[in-house]
């Protein structure tokens, strides 16, 4: 989720790219990395994930080819860093901060309420691919603890009672 601009424009209703458009964008992005080797791998993957939302194997292969390194090396890096995702995410990602400041202020209860409400666990996606939940460690807005991000929208000073209302908002969108 490299692209999130905290407090920026809401992503509700943003148009999605077609597979062809994504592929074209990836080609454009990768031209800067041609033959640069391992040292450019992280940046290349970050750009690729920004386009696709995750890093499916074909994308990893293209990155490997561009940089002229092995797919195994690419996969090794992708699987090491939690920022890189092998699974697609939902259209709306509920990112629950489980940093210490948020945890002490009851973030676990917030997470459980979201899980109950959506009927999935952290790390999973709903079958209609509309929602997914992930947990993160401190988004740096500890003053607003507990905090969740729904795509680019930030909700702070939350109580569990507010969760159903927030979810409803995105269900309608």
């Amino acid at each position: 989720m490299l692209s999130y601009a905290v407090g920026g424009e809401s992503t509700v209703g943003k148009t999605k790219l077609t597979p062809e458009e994504m592929s074209k964008k990836l080609d454009e992005a990768l031209t800067h990395y041609e033959g640069q080797g391992q040292k450019a791998l992280m940046s290349a993957l970050q750009e690729a994930q920004e386009i696709y939302g995750y890093l499916p194997l074909p994308v990893q292969k293209r990155v490997a080819m561009t940089l002229n390194i092995s797919v195994a090396e690419v996969y090794g890096v992708v699987s090491f860093y939690s920022f890189f995702s092998l699974k697609p995410k939902g259209e709306y990602v509920f990112n629950v901060c489980l940093g210490t400041a948020c945890y002490v202020k009851g973030a676990q209860k917030i997470l459980e309420r979201i899980e109950d409400n959506l009927g999935i666990k952290a790390g999973d996606v709903t079958t209609d691919r509309k929602f997914s939940i992930s947990a993160c460690r401190c988004v740096g807005a500890c003053g607003l603890a507990p905090v969740i991000l729904v795509n680019d929208d930030v909700y702070g000073r939350l109580t569990p009672e507010e969760i159903p209302g927030i979810i409803a908002k995105y269900k309608e969108a």
Partner: protein
């Protein structure tokens, strides 16, 4: 510069931006011209003022009036009342009434600033981080300019930093001058300067605030470091979760380049230095210096054994220094004001100030910078305004997943590197989380172990398996399944982790457990022997119960229960929870308007 009769400072740090401070700016931009005062009043975007929980914060100068929790809708009133008619908007001058951090006794927010001393944060909230001229007007790039125009001897500069007593603010507290000296004395054509802005401690955001509020101080310091050790390339390794910081830093680098303050032949000298940003990808271990360098190289962030130390063989196998953001932020001002000035602050072995991200169960949540030697009590009760809701203080946690908890009996500990270690914790990078009587210490210990299990890179066995074992034992304890033998086993594994791990992540992973075992052993015993969690946090040891005499038979709780385990007869019979079905979600307790439901 043009003259304005008033300046409006709007905090655009992450905390405030999350609560719409950008819309506040838009409103000012719209309303000032409508009132024909756009030539008299200047709106400035600044970095974090520190008092994040009361944000968005707007400050109007020359009076210095501070408005809290400003809504974009409030801007019209600030413009028409304050800026046009000169009357303060009293309504916004008190912290928010609904806020947990403004109950009765915290009327005086100015306490928040009184005991602080802003050195690393000197420019945060005071200048517009996107305007290099404002940094320059505050003595920015003066240190670099002086060094280069006087062609000052690098070893002389390093000596000054050594004399200042500055120690690394990233956690370890290694003397900065010594680190630079090692790298300076190694012969090599290529060397690197790196900045650690990975800020992995969950619940800490000092480094982010410095990058957002004063990015040039870091750029200037890294350039000076490059001059001192003989490097011409630097890298800032920033967490990907910090988009605003990255954007401010990029912008600042571009401006510095345009002004010739980084790049080729800086200030017309023969010294050249370039900077690049590398984004992290969510691995805590990459805050460790060798792992960070592997990550910049595009590899998995596995730590490597030291020696060789990075000063000899670091990034791309070249001599490298790595410092923390806050460490760098201190450098320019040390060089303009002198080592003696800096060394006059703090304690015997820890000089200067430290920034903490104060959070958790405390009235004034935010960033605080205090001189070393300030006591924990002063931070929590004077600057922090104490515990909200009249609750009892229990502990403060510093050092994040590598640190420990400081109990009430040690509240008068003066904060410095050595005292915090003696108290069973550590300075860490600056997270300071306050816990009250409702925080279960066993649960907190488990929380940190869960974190290290997730973040262990898996390279060495004691850490990979030891953290997992400890996590399992702690889980057993909070579920009420443990025996006293398990407590012993927990301590044993903790020791083997400490002694057998390759990097500091594993070596310190047991600290949260060891320190809570030391200071809060009774809570562990309660969980293990009495099968009770006095704070009603641990689910396996807590039950929800409806007090029949208090129940008004309204049925609301039954409606809210997700597993339909509450039964009763509307208006006739008190409701009852079937404890065997209850998943302990707490929805019923929140719903009951008559406080008839309790945890026991």
């Amino acid at each position: 510069m043009e003259l304005y009769r008033a300046h409006v400072l709007v905090c655009c740090g992450t905390g405030c931006t999350s609560s719409n401070s950008d819309q506040i700016i838009t409103q000012f931009d719209k309303l000032l011209p409508e009132n024909n005062i756009e030539k008299e009043v200047k709106v400035v975007k600044t970095g974090c003022f520190g008092l994040c929980a009361e944000g968005p914060i707007v400050v109007v100068y020359p009076e210095g009036v501070m408005y809290y929790r400003v809504d974009p809708k409030d801007v019209a009133e600030i413009v028409s009342e304050h800026l046009v008619k000169g009357r303060h908007v009293e309504r916004l001058m008190v912290p928010h009434p609904a806020s947990p951090s403004s109950e009765a006794n915290s009327s005086d927010e100015s306490n928040f600033f009184k005991k602080q001393l802003r050195i690393a944060l000197r420019n945060c909230g005071a200048i517009n981080p996107e305007e290099i001229d404002e940094y320059i007007a505050h003595d920015g790039y003066l240190a670099l300019g002086t060094i280069l125009s006087e062609k000052r001897d690098p070893l002389d500069i390093i000596d000054e930093i050594k004399r200042s007593g500055l120690r690394g603010r990233g956690g370890g507290g290694f003397p900065t001058g010594m680190k630079w000296e090692f790298a300076a004395k190694v012969e090599n054509d290529t060397k690197y300067v790196c900045c650690n802005a990975d800020e992995g401690d969950p619940g800490a955001f000092m480094d982010r605030s410095i990058l957002e509020g004063d990015p040039h101080s870091v750029i200037e310091a890294m350039t000076i470091a490059g001059y001192c050790i003989g490097a011409s390339q630097g890298y800032v390794y920033v967490r990907a979760e910090y988009p605003i910081a990255v954007q401010r830093l990029k912008h600042a680098m571009k401006q510095a380049k345009e002004y010739g303050l980084i790049g080729k032949n800086i200030f017309g000298s023969d010294f050249s230095f370039d900077l690049d940003i590398r984004l992290g990808a969510g691995a805590f271990v990459c805050g460790e210096e060798t792992a960070l360098m592997r990550s910049i190289e595009g590899k998995r962030g596995n730590p490597t054994p030291r020696p060789p130390f990075p000063a000899v063989r670091g990034l791309f196998n070249k001599p490298t220094i790595l410092n923390n953001v806050e460490t760098y932020a201190n450098i320019p001002i040390i060089l303009t004001k002198g080592a003696e000035w800096f060394a006059s602050m703090g304690t015997e072995r820890s000089k200067g100030t430290k920034v903490f991200a104060l959070g958790g169960k405390v009235q004034n949540v935010g960033l605080v910078e205090i001189p070393m030697g300030t006591t924990v009590r002063e931070i929590v009760f004077e600057i922090g305004g104490g515990i909200p809701g009249g609750k009892e203080f229990k502990a403060v946690q510093t050092g994040g997943p590598s640190g420990g908890c400081i109990p009430a009996s040690l509240l008068d500990t003066p904060i410095d590197y050595d005292n915090l270690v003696a108290a069973g914790s550590m300075m860490g990078s600056g997270g300071m989380i306050v816990m009250d009587e409702e925080t279960c210490m066993v649960d907190i210990a488990r929380f940190f172990l869960e974190f290290t299990v997730d973040e262990s890179c898996g390279k060495c066995t004691p850490c990979r398996i030891g953290t997992k074992r400890m996590y399992e034992l702690l889980t057993k304890i909070i579920e009420g399944q443990a025996t006293l033998d398990d407590l012993e086993a927990l301590e044993k594994v903790a020791l083997s982790l400490k002694n057998g791990s390759l990097c500091a992540l594993g070596q310190t992973a047991a600290n949260p457990v060891l320190s809570t075992l030391k200071h809060f052993r009774n809570e562990y015993i309660q969980h293990v022997v009495d099968k009770k969690c006095a704070c009603h946090v641990c689910k396996g040891l807590t039950e929800y119960y409806i007090i029949p005499e208090m129940c008004k038979k309204c049925g609301l709780c039954a409606k809210k229960c997700p597993v339909n385990c509450i039964s009763g007869v509307l208006g006739k019979e008190p409701y009852v929870i079937d404890a065997s079905q209850c998943i302990k979600c707490g929805a019923c307790m929140e719903a009951c308007k008559f406080k008839a439901i309790i945890k026991q």
